[in-house]
């Protein structure tokens, strides 16, 4: 995905300034930056989740492949299927585990029959590393799982429609360290099949899971590059200041 | 709390309030409070005792019952005076849009009784239309809206129409030996939907009649009087329910209305005597009085005189 000259406004307040970025395919890109710098806002621009905020306004282009995602001819419903999302707090639907995963394929009419659906559910749960833990209780509510399992269920749900890109907004910040480690492992595996964008507060986490890192500050994309390079040898002074903990 | 307090029947309520209002305007006494509690509820309050918090008068659409009288006595209300104030015609009416349908009491009985004689044998009322009762009547479904069992109007209707008709029908003569069974057979009203209990609000009956021209209603004369443009009182036994016919006693379906006085309060509560005086004055309950205007059918002249004398001297009721 690429963004060009992207400006974003909440009413009169500008939240993003002239963002230009290329998000590499089948890699993990991490967004870091102090609180309120616009990471989540930008992430939500990528699958137009900001559409539902009345006062929000976007300027500039974001392309998925060759397709401008803000092009009126593009259907937002299908865009969201192509660009999945995982949230900060695990938010499984209050339905069974099976139905949670099957929800996406069902509404998009991706499966012709129950067998296909079963397959999709199973393979998604397998890819999310949850299958072994839940295969005997697919009909139990997803809300009954532990926090880490719930988050993996949400990831399974997101990848069940086989999207191109998966966006994750601080997916581990509500989890304990062990669950966090599991999710990080999973992200590492998933990048074989999906382009992944992850927002994180923890620089350690960014360093651990991402191949590329983008540093935001006050709505501006300060620096974007190989994770290795950004953390050891940042081009910008601000990045340097941030990662060494001089502010934030 | 020095006003006169009146409770009791909803039927007498409009008359008592009329008197109360004139009374308040023409005297220096405060306006009496009139509460519509129903005859039974009124009796209970009235007989609760003597003291300025208890009612001074109660209205009744029937005479006081022995048990109520005893209750009064037991509670120290040892002297009450009964005033019969007039009659309330009970009419059998329907919408003006329908054709007139003169009826007899027997026809009404056959239409409404729970059991009727068929070929000399009593059985559940089979009649669905008026025509089945009598060929001269129209081929319309029997549908009568009337007062509920809780009401004094219903009671009077049963006594004056149903029981009288019943006495004339041969099939019931056989039962005469067993008074109880006879009564039961004569007074029970069918409950299969042809008779519709229509609540205490007679205005609603009127509007329901207007909406449904095949239906009949049973209610007090004053409602007919006020809604003459929309509804017609049917001729019963050849007599039309008009003011004069009821006053003369020609129209047979009417009941007496009463007011009871708590004698002990006369001389205790200001204005008691004056109120009785106003109620029993010609200007109020006479044929040209304002109560007649409200729909009260006056007593005959001599009866009025007697009632007034008795009332003014607080003649004690004994039972």
């Amino acid at each position: 995905m690429t963004a060009r000259e992207l400006n974003f406004f909440y009413g009169a307040k500008q939240a993003l300034y002239d963002i230009n970025i290329d998000i590499a395919e089948k890699e993990v890109t991490a967004f870091i930056g102090p609180s309120g710098c616009g990471k989540s806002t930008f992430l939500r621009c990528l699958n137009r989740m900001n559409d539902y905020i009345d006062i929000a306004r976007v300027d500039g282009t974001i392309k998925l492949g060759d397709q401008d995602i803000y092009d009126p001819s593009l259907d937002v419903v299908q865009l969201r299927a192509l660009v999945g999302m995982v949230f900060q707090k695990p938010n499984p639907f209050p339905k069974s585990i099976y139905e949670n995963v099957a929800y996406g394929p069902k509404i998009h009419g991706m499966c012709r029959n129950k067998d296909e659906m079963d397959q999709v559910v199973q393979s998604s749960l397998e890819r999310a590393g949850l299958w072994n833990e839940v295969k005997d209780r697919l009909d139990q509510p997803g809300t009954g799982l532990s926090g880490g399992q719930q988050q993996r269920l949400c990831i399974a749900r997101a990848i069940a429609v086989s999207p191109d890109v998966v966006l994750m907004d601080e997916p581990c910040s509500a989890l304990d360290p062990i669950a966090t480690a599991k999710i990080e492992e999973l992200i590492d595996e998933l990048r074989q099949n999906f382009t992944i964008v992850i927002v994180t507060h923890s620089m350690q986490q960014a360093a651990r899971v991402s191949q590329r890192t983008a540093f935001f500050h006050l709505g501006v994309l300060v620096e974007c590059g190989e994770t290795e390079q950004v953390f050891t040898n940042p081009r910008e002074e601000k990045t340097q200041a941030y990662i060494t903990g001089r502010f934030g | 709390a020095d006003q006169i307090k009146i409770v009791g029947s909803s039927t007498v309520y409009p008359f008592s309030t009329s008197v109360a209002e004139r009374f308040a305007a023409a005297t220096k006494f405060p306006a009496p409070i009139v509460e519509s509690t129903g005859t039974g509820g009124g009796m209970k309050l009235f007989c609760a005792g003597v003291s300025s918090d208890t009612p001074d008068f109660t209205n009744a659409s029937r005479a006081i019952k022995k048990s109520e009288y005893d209750n009064c006595m037991a509670n120290g209300v040892d002297s009450i005076t009964e005033i019969k104030i007039g009659y309330d015609g009970i009419v059998f009416a329907n919408s003006r849009e329908a054709d007139p349908m003169p009826v007899t009491k027997e026809q009404i009985f056959l239409a409404l009784a729970k059991t009727v004689p068929v070929d000399g044998k009593l059985q559940d009322n089979p009649y669905k239309t008026w025509k089945q009762i009598d060929a001269s009547l129209p081929d319309a479904e029997i549908q009568v809206l009337g007062p509920p069992p809780t009401s004094g109007t219903r009671d009077a209707f049963v006594e004056l129409v149903m029981e009288e008709a019943c006495d004339e029908i041969a099939a019931y003569k056989a039962l005469e030996g067993d008074k109880k069974a006879h009564k039961a057979a004569c007074t029970a009203i069918r409950e299969d939907g042809a008779y519709i209990d229509a609540g205490e609000n007679d205005n609603l009956i009127v509007s329901k009649l207007v909406a449904n021209p095949t239906a009949f209603g049973i209610f007090g004369f004053s409602f007919l009087d006020q809604n003459a443009s929309k509804i017609r009182g049917e001729t019963v036994e050849g007599v039309e329910p008009t003011f004069d016919n009821i006053a003369d006693g020609k129209y047979g379906v009417s009941r007496s209305l009463f007011v009871y006085v708590k004698d002990a309060h006369v001389g205790q509560k200001p204005g008691m005597k004056e109120f009785i005086d106003e109620f029993t004055s010609e200007k109020a309950w006479g044929p040209d009085g304002y109560l007649a205007e409200k729909g009260l059918i006056p007593l005959p002249d001599d009866e009025r005189k007697k009632q007034r004398e008795n009332a003014m001297s607080l003649g004690k009721l004994t039972m």
């Binding site: 419903v77 397959q119 199973q122 | 709390a1 306006a31 519509s36 409602f223 409200k294």
Partner: protein, 437 residues
């Protein structure tokens, strides 16, 4: 990863396929339909409301006008004050009934026959007598003079003049016979009949004569009742809410209280009437028909509303405010009183007003405690016998005289205006003090 998964289509393929596009169109159609259902729901609600309002207003608006007739009155001393004492008491007892009748005779000298005279007398209201009496008492110098006086017409004339009675009907079917119509026509030709704004509707108490009936007693009765309700339910309700929300320990007693309150909010109002009858009237011996008892019953009914609203208001004050105060060494009650209460107050008031509005419209419990009374004088205190506005509506709805129908609707209009005003005030209050934390 299972091998079987390889056959599955990806979302990108599905989206591009013909079937996918068709499906998408169907989904959007469903979306639109669903939205219309929602709109229809609201529309139906609003429609019902509109129908009811139109219904009420169209029958009720004429009650705000009343018909008057001009007659020539000679204040004969023999009738007005036979004793010649000229004291107020003496003047009050004058024979205004005959005075009014004589005046009509004087105005229509051509009417002679007995029954026609009766029709003539029926032109004017009983109120005319009261009016003449009050004139004389106010100004005894009128005695002996002759005056042109506008007096209240009777309800039948009023109904006729307003067009509710069709003059083309056969005579026996209308309340206004031909003779009277002729008289009214005469009056019209002399410009001696007119319609005026019906102030009396707002200043008079109930009356047996529809043309004189007003809502003053009902309004004052409702006001007194609500006053009692407010005085009782606001402090108790707020204290309860504060206790439950801020101080109550979590135990079965608190639980019982909560369940009780929530249950009372949905207990049928008529049951509260039975409670009032049994406890306040029969057990404590409080006076019947009094706003005091009505107010007490309604207060019990309103309590849950106030408690629930107050708790919501208290809950919406962020805990950080409490913590800040506590952290400074305020006691819990001080934190409550100094900081939480002022912030919760708008919410509490909103709940209170809504509770009061409900109480204002309540009828059934008042029937049980004797507030269905004919009250011809505006009540002066909370222990005076009294009625309430909705009960007045109920009583008028059951009266025989056709003219009460428009009065009923008009009283409903007044009641609705009060209710809407109260609700609007509550909404305004909520808007004005709405705070996002």
């Amino acid at each position: 990863m299972s091998e079987a998964a390889l056959h599955l289509p990806t979302i990108a393929e599905v989206a591009k396929s013909e079937a996918g596009q068709r499906r998408l169109r169907r989904r959007y159609a469903a979306e639109r339909r669903f939205k219309y259902y929602g709109l229809a729901g609201i529309g139906l609600g609003v429609l019902f409301l509109a129908v009811m309002l139109v219904n009420i207003v169209s029958t009720g608006w004429t009650a705000f006008l009343q018909t008057y007739i001009q007659i020539e009155v000679t204040f004969t001393p023999e009738l007005v004050d036979p004793s010649g004492a000229r004291t107020e008491d003496a003047l009050r007892q004058g024979d205004y009934y005959t005075l009014a009748r004589d005046a009509l005779k004087q105005t229509f000298p051509e009417v002679t026959g007995r029954s026609e005279r009766r029709q003539l007398n029926a032109l004017i209201s009983v109120g005319a007598e009261h009016q003449l009496r009050n004139m004389v008492i106010a100004d005894p110098s009128l005695i002996g003079t002759t005056q042109q006086v506008w007096v209240l017409a009777s309800d039948d004339v009023d109904m006729f003049w307003k067009g509710y009675i069709d003059r083309d009907l056969p005579e026996e079917q209308r309340r206004v016979p031909d003779v009277q119509i002729a008289m009214i026509d005469t009056l019209e030709s002399r410009d001696a009949i007119k319609q005026e704004f019906n102030w009396a509707f707002f200043t008079n108490a109930d009356s047996r004569e529809p043309e004189m009936a007003g809502i003053a007693a009902g309004v004052v009765g409702s006001f007194l009742t609500l006053l009692v309700t407010l005085i009782l339910s606001l402090p108790i309700g707020v204290a309860t809410a504060i206790y439950l929300e801020e101080f109550a320990p979590k135990n079965w007693i608190t639980d019982a209280i909560e369940v009780n309150i929530n249950n009372l909010a949905a207990v049928p109002s008529i049951i509260f009437g039975l409670l009032g009858l049994a406890v306040f009237l029969n057990f404590f011996g409080l006076p019947r028909s009094a706003p005091l008892v009505g107010g007490m019953v309604l207060a019990l009914m309103t309590l849950p509303t106030i408690i629930i609203a107050s708790r919501a208001a208290l809950k919406s004050v962020p805990p950080s405010i409490r913590e800040a105060a506590l952290g400074l060494g305020a006691s819990r009650q001080q934190a409550m009183l100094h900081h939480v209460m002022p912030l919760a107050l708008p919410g509490i008031l909103t709940g209170t007003i809504i509770g009061m509005a409900q109480a204002l419209g309540e009828t059934a419990p008042l029937l049980m405690i004797g507030m269905v009374a004919f009250v011809a004088e505006v009540p002066g205190g909370i222990t005076d016998p009294s009625t309430a506005l909705p009960v007045q509506v109920f009583m008028w709805a059951g009266s025989a005289e056709a003219a009460y129908q428009e009065k009923t609707s008009a009283a409903i209009m007044v009641l609705l205006i009060f209710l809407i005003m109260m609700n609007a005030f509550a909404i305004w209050l909520r808007k004005k003090f709405e705070r996002r934390w």
